[in-house]
Amino acid sequence: MSENLTTIIITLVSVLFGAGGWKFYEFLIKNKREKQKEDLSENNIFRDDLISRVDKLEADKGNCLNSLLEISKEVSSLTTKVEFLERENISLKTKLEKF
């Protein structure tokens, strides 16, 4: 009877140590997973921020292109006007010299 009791006690102690070891391992794995989740959520926040910034920059780029087109149009029209005025100026000068 005492032999069996010793065996039972040693088995119980082994099982308790095993269960304790398992609980500790479970705690480590859960902590690691929590940390991974936190990192992932930080990465997601950073990614979302980058996406919104890129959207904003894309919209700005569209506006800038439109402005550039407008400015190009105005420059072309002004260039034509200047050329016309220069020619008129030359012809007026020539007329004045004849008088």
Binding site: E3, N4, T7, T11, V15, G18, W22, E26, I29, R33
Partner: protein, 146 residues
Amino acid sequence: MINLTRRVVMYFNKLKKVLLYFDFQPLLFFWVLSDVFNNMVLWSTHSIWVEQGQGNTYFLYLAYLILSILMLLFIHNYKRLSLFVNLYLCLYLFSTIRYLLHSVDYQNIEIIDYKNIFITLWYSTMWIWIAFKIKNENLHKQLNNE
């Protein structure tokens, strides 16, 4: 020689991967089935064990048989399988400790005793590994579902 060493190292690396990543249920199934067929309860009676003064050992084998059958029945259910493997492991630890403490005559220990001790400890390690694998799988499933 270097080539042979590299091959041996590669073999152990592959073995490590098999042990870590491969599923073991088919192996467990055949192992437990052979355990059931080898179980002494099926091939002897309680009275034979009582005559040899080991009546309790018969019940130990009976517990093994019941747990083996339960493992076979729930081999597809990880949670139940985990429970029965753990119970089997406790039983195995009990019989291992009983064997090491009371069955081995350490005064006149022979080479055959060393072999038996080694095999007993080897099987204990195997059951600990199976129990750990199942519990680990359950833990990761639980964490993935959270």
